[in-house]
């Protein structure tokens, strides 16, 4: 039942925030803090108390455990919802779910804190939308019924659309509609694929169900499987975003208010990665194998193209947005490499990218609140004016370029090592992306914070509320850089079980013993040192 609370708490806090704002607008902020901090505490508690269970489940079943399929999840809720169609309200959590939930609520809390000064208009409605998004995101990560997953997947579009369209910057309406249409169109393609799967499975077995665990392993002709895989890929590649489908992202991230950018970059685009790991590859391992070359090519293009585009921007926020395209290229690379190292890297990258990019977006937001521009041509020498802000920016820029000692380095390193085993040239080209990342990150620092201070800008440095937020993020990145083991251990069961599901396909040629003993021993992941 605990899983239900993750959705219910923010869902109930949402209308509450709106209601209290009718009399006292500022109170809505505290309701929103409670609505995200409470489930955050809850999920952290569940994580801590079940860390032993996670290890035990892994030890009991060993690398041979099929995880979710065999029902070894940490907690689950299953109830009939729309019986005539075989739709159930099926929530379940394993290690990866817990990580995604922590991320969701942490980013939600951060989004609320980051808007404390910036949002002064329709405060109640704003927090209503943020909490609604949080509830829907929690639902996405918890659903194991494909209809329910699609339901939550679509549900978060409306609040996100409003957040961008109402509180965004200059071209907000354009960006909001573009975001909405891109996501909705690709989501509908996934819906078609889900339905096709539903009927293929139903005809073969007589059981019409959207239950993911039952749909796994459905037999179908390889051509059909490939088309269905493309349906899922379309939805997740738009969300991620992967190279040719990324164009909504720079607009949406740039035009959204800070809170919107944080949730978009921190959680929403991670649904793409999560969906591929949880649903797409396990459902269609053969088809994914057939698509692997294309996937790797798109990933490499995304890495390099995103980095080059980031370098070419004059708008600071747009620059950060393009770095997301580049970083998500690594995620795609890791998923298509589909081995233990790469997948562990993907999970780490999901978390570290959320922390570092979320921080950069908040930083751009605080800067814009103070100097009312995002144009780097109008900045320069800001370090002298606001040294604490400059130092913070430097830290996150270094995290973004993958400095050893920070989480992002471990993540990208693991992904590249994993990719090397599958495709050497993809790993090499991906590594070239790291060089480009150094260029754009340092160039950003140079243009905005270094050099001569010529514009006579005077503004206050970080206030304690902001310093606190950044300190937490910096600490998290450093810890993950030196000791990522807890995170990897939590995701281990999921990583192993999805690989077990695909074990019969050419996608996972490695035997259960060789590469995986590495993680059982915990011998990896100290690479950051």
């Amino acid at each position: 039942m605990i899983l239900l609370w993750y959705i219910l708490i923010p869902a109930v806090a949402a209308p509450l925030a709106w209601l209290v704002s009718l009399s006292r607008p500022q109170l809505a902020r505290w309701v929103a803090v409670a609505g995200t901090a409470l489930p955050l505490a809850l999920v952290t508690w569940q994580w801590a108390s079940q860390a032993g269970a996670l290890r035990a489940a892994f030890a009991a079943h060993g690398p041979g455990a099929a995880g979710l399929v065999q029902g070894t999840w940490l907690a689950h809720v299953q109830a009939t919802w729309i019986a005539p169609l075989g739709i159930s309200f099926f929530l379940a959590a394993d290690g990866l779910t817990l990580i995604m939930l922590v991320l969701t609520f942490a980013m939600g809390l951060l989004a609320v804190l980051a808007s404390w000064r910036g949002i002064q208009e329709r405060v109640g409605f704003f927090h209503f939308m943020i909490l609604w998004t949080t509830a829907a995101l929690a639902g996405v990560f918890l659903s194991l019924d494909l209809f329910l997953f699609y339901f939550f997947f679509e549900m978060m579009l409306i609040p996100m659309y409003f957040v961008i369209a109402l509180w965004g910057h200059e071209r907000r309406v354009y960006a909001a509609i573009k975001f909405f249409i891109f996501t909705q169109a690709s989501g509908l393609l996934m819906l078609i694929a889900i339905l096709a799967l539903y009927f293929i499975h139903g005809r073969a077995t007589g059981v019409y169900t959207f239950d993911f665990t039952q749909l796994l392993g459905t037999q179908m002709p390889s051509g059909t499987a490939f088309l269905l895989m493309l349906g899922f890929f379309a939805a997740f590649a738009v969300k991620l975003p992967a190279f040719p489908l990324h164009t909504w992202l720079p607009d949406a991230h740039t035009e959204a208010p800070t809170a919107g950018s944080v949730i978009l970059a921190g959680v929403l685009i991670k649904i793409g990665a999560y969906g591929m790991i949880r649903f797409m590859v396990p459902l269609f391992p053969q088809a994914v194998y057939g698509f692997r070359t294309v996937g790797l090519v798109l990933a490499v293009i995304g890495i390099i193209y995103g980095a080059i585009m980031a370098y070419a921007q004059t708008d600071l926020k747009r620059l950060v947005a393009y770095t997301s395209v580049s970083h998500m290229g690594f995620v795609l690379l890791g998923i298509f490499a589909w081995n233990t190292l790469a997948l562990q890297g993907v999970v780490l990258q999901i978390v570290c990218h959320a922390l570092s990019t979320g921080a950069l977006f908040i930083l751009v937001g605080t800067l814009q609140d103070r100097i009312h521009t995002r144009d780097m041509a109008k900045m320069g020498g800001l370090w002298a004016v606001a040294p604490r802000m400059g130092g913070t920016a430097m830290f996150f820029a270094l995290a973004s370029l993958g400095l050893p000692g920070l989480g992002n380095f471990v993540a990208e390193f693991l992904i590249l090592v994993g990719t090397w085993q599958v495709s050497k040239w993809a790993a090499v080209l991906g590594a070239v992306g790291l060089v480009f990342a150094t260029v754009y990150a340092l160039w950003m620092m140079q243009r905005a914070f270094q050099g001569e201070e010529t514009h006579a800008l005077r503004f206050g440095d970080l206030v304690p509320r902001e310093t606190g937020m950044y300190a937490a993020l910096i600490a998290a990145l450093v810890v993950l850089g030196f000791y990522p083991q807890p995170l990897i251990a939590t995701a281990r069961q999921t990583v192993t079980s999805v690989q077990q599901i695909t074990a019969g396909s050419p996608l996972s040629p490695e035997t259960a013993s060789a590469a995986q003993t590495m993680i059982v021993d915990g011998a990896t992941a100290d690479d950051g040192q």
Binding site: T80, W81, I82, A83, P84, L85, F147, F151, F152, E154, M155, L157, I158, Y161, F162, A165, L166, R172, V173, A176, I177, F180, I181, Q184, A185, L188, L189, L191, I192, L195, A196, Y198, F199
Partner: protein, 480 residues
């Protein structure tokens, strides 16, 4: 005809007596409030009689009418929709200082026509029902308020509906002349044989029948009248045409084609598929360039009928459930959308321009919220019935492997997002160049209650649709 038959006929009798009562009351004592009250009593009596009729085992009354659960369900739907329209019309008419008592009488007779349509199992009942509905509508469009714009719309509707009836009668005559049958059960084998049969006269007859139905449903290429009539008619009448009139005809179409399993290669299937695709594409594309909210709703309804045809083409029980569920969702959604237009209309003109909705979220927050829910329901977003309805339609299509149609549906409804969100943006987003927010009329208490109830309906059954689906399953199961 036995006493038992009369009991079965009770819903129709209630719907026949009520307009007479309203008319007589208006003749003695003109009172708007009394007319509305009597109308609502009549509609409530109809609903009660549905439950009485449902207790009967033999539901076929003469070869003309069948009061199976399917018919009773649809009569209930039409009756509730009519009640909503009647309440929404109250403040709209009250504001204009007219004598609108006969308006309610016409509303009741039109619903009677719709009720006959959904119960008809015979060409005679089909034609009678359609004429009762159409003739009432001519008058409804122009009667309550004399304005040049309304006269124009009424004349347009009159001419086109008249032509439609002519097509229909001729089609029926041809079918009857060749086959000697006018019943649904007699028609089914002809439809199963498709239009490729050797008998050209029968094929021509069926085509003419479909042209007539196509006009009523306003699917492409018979859609031309819709935007003009929607724009030209008073807003509550627009709501009525969009829901009751189209819904009744679609229910009839479903009944006539229920025994038929269309082969995807047959001519009949191709005709329907072409109409469906053209409606989805044209409806959505033409709506893009509109600035008039009524016209946007008109094109959106053309597109919606296209989606419905996709489910219809899937045939079989799942298709019938999908169509019926979609119609219920479409009724509620359209009534909210038109209800908002009605409620905001001033005595001078209807609130139909996009400018009338600028900043509505600030001036009338709840009304804007209801309209937003309706628009998102039309766009098929979760938490609204529109989502489940569209999901059901796509499921039905996927079950019958109509992939091409489904992909067109998906692409077309993505285009649709753009114009729905335009209205949402107008209501919620502050534009820099805007001097003041638009201020529509105050929303009356009755209208507010109807809008709130319908919006709640959209959300409740959007989250937990199972009870409604079970009800529809039982209703549809009685179709032959």
């Amino acid at each position: 005809m036995t006493t038992g038959d009369l009991i079965t006929l009770l819903p129709l009798i209630a719907l026949t007596v009520s307009p007479v009562v309203v008319m007589l009351a208006a003749a003695y004592y003109r009172s708007h409030a009394l007319a509305l009250a009597l109308t609502l009593v009549g509609l409530a009596a109809t609903i009660v009689s549905l439950f009485i009729a449902a207790t009967r085992t033999s539901r076929q009354v003469t070869p003309l009418l069948s009061f199976d659960a399917y018919a009773l369900f649809y009569i209930g739907l039409l009756t509730v929709a009519t009640a909503a329209v009647a309440i929404l019309s109250w403040s709209y008419l009250q504001r204009r200082h007219v004598h609108p008592e006969e308006y309610y009488m016409l509303l009741l007779t039109a619903t009677l026509g719709g009720a006959v349509l959904v119960a008809s199992t015979h060409f005679a009942a089909f034609f009678l029902g359609l004429e009762i509905l159409s003739v009432s509508l001519y008058a409804l469009i122009v009667y309550p308020i004399y304005r040049a714009q309304f006269v124009e719309a009424a004349v347009k509707y009159l001419v086109l509906a008249g032509a439609t009836s002519a097509f229909l009668v001729f089609g029926m005559a041809l079918v009857y002349a060749q086959t000697g049958t006018m019943t649904v059960s007699g028609l089914a084998p002809l439809l199963i044989a498709g239009l490729g049969g050797e008998d050209v006269v029968v094929a021509l007859g069926v085509v003419l029948l479909l042209v007539g139905v196509g006009f009523k449903l306003a699917v492409v290429p018979f859609h031309m009248w819709t935007p003009d009539v929607y724009q030209g008619a008073p807003a509550p009448v627009g709501a009525y045409i969009a829901t009751v009139s189209k819904g009744a005809v679609f229910a009839l179409l479903l009944r006539y084609f229920r025994p038929v399993s269309l082969d995807t290669g047959s001519t009949l299937f191709l005709v329907f598929a072409a109409v469906a695709i053209a409606s989805m594409v044209a409806g959505n594309l033409l709506a893009l360039r509109q600035d008039n909210v009524k016209r946007i709703l008109a094109y959106s309804s053309i597109a919606n009928l296209g989606y419905l045809l996709v489910a219809f083409l899937a045939t079989g029980e799942r298709a019938a459930i999908a169509v019926t569920f979609y119609l219920v969702a479409y009724f509620a959604t359209t009534l909210v959308a038109f209800g908002v237009v009605t409620a905001l209309s001033t005595p001078e003109r209807d609130a139909e321009s996009m400018d009338d909705y600028r900043g509505l979220a600030r001036t009338r927050g709840w009304t804007a919220a209801a309209f937003t829910v309706a628009l998102f329901s039309l766009a098929g977003m979760p938490l609204t019935m529109g989502f489940i309805a569209k999901f059901y339609v796509v499921t039905a299509g996927a079950g019958a492997a109509l992939w091409a149609l489904i992909i067109v549906l998906v692409l077309a409804s993505t285009v649709g997002l753009y114009y729905y969100t335009r209205i949402v943006v107008a209501m919620w987003v502050r534009q820099p160049d805007e001097s003041a927010d638009a201020v529509g009329a105050a929303v009356g208490g009755g209208s507010a209650a109807v809008l709130a109830a319908l919006t709640a309906f959209l959300i409740v059954f959007g989250v937990y649709p199972a009870p409604l689906i079970q009800l529809i399953e039982r209703a549809v199961a009685t179709l032959p």
